[in-house]
Symmetry: C2
Subunit: 152 residues, 2 copies
């Protein structure tokens, strides 16, 4: 390897695209450096698709995509991204953590049988009334989970 990876990563690839630079910029903008595993995961997580992933699933996908990251790094990265506001953590199932690549205002359908999550755009829900937050606190977020089950 004659050329170092920092360069290779930022330059246009053989198709003329610059596959990593967007991710690197986003990472930089939230104060995260761009080591290769983090960038690799960033590319999978921050490509604009709205997805709900567990750490295990992301790890498996990374392996499949020939991005060799350890599970510990997957966990670290998910939490770093969440802290930086690039992801959101959702609690629906008590035993697994789901990370949501959609950080816009939105809510979820939760399919009780399958554990599947589906986004509900924020503008399709209207909360007409909500109590004041307890004294000394401020509302960070309102999460709505609509639990549905198959009619059968």
């Amino acid at each position: 390897m004659t050329q170092d990876m920092t360069q290779e990563i930022n330059n246009p690839d053989s198709n003329g695209r610059r596959p990593y630079s967007d991710v690197i910029e986003r990472l930089r903008s939230v104060g995260l450096r761009p080591p290769r595993p983090r960038v690799g995961l960033g590319k999978m997580l921050l490509d604009g698709r709205d997805r709900h992933l567990t750490a295990e699933k992301l790890h498996a996908e990374a392996q499949a995509a020939a991005i060799p990251v350890s599970l510990a790094t997957v966990y670290n990265t998910l939490h770093q991204f969440t802290d930086a506001g690039l992801l959101r953590e959702i609690a629906v199932d008590a035993s697994r953590s789901y990370f949501d690549t959609n950080t816009a205002d939105h809510h979820h359908f939760f399919f009780e049988e399958t554990g599947y999550l589906e986004d509900i755009d924020g503008d399709r829900v209207a909360i007409a009334e909500l109590p004041e937050p307890p004294a000394g606190t401020r509302i960070e977020r309102v999460d709505i989970v609509v639990r549905v089950s198959g009619k059968t």
Copy 2:
């Protein structure tokens, strides 16, 4: 012990109260038999107080109340009660399961720093608009979690 426990349990105690019979009736009404550990936990869970408990906390309370149940039984019982509709399971924190003794229509404040949960009566919240459930499904429940954090 000359008298068997089944009787003792159903009869008025020395204060003239019948501490177990209500619980036993409720269990029976949902198809659960009244073995002693289950009744003991039922007494702690179904006494009308609105509480949010983890399995560990309930186990500790039971020990403290001289109701010797194993942790496995606590888990079994919590799930049986939940399946029977006597409790509700809440997912807010990914790592712990909370069981809610309040099964009426209501929602929650979640204090992010402490993990504490506070009830919001169902009539203090109004949802003006909600999308149709996905085809082939029916809404089981709408859970709203208002995440708050200390102003400091």
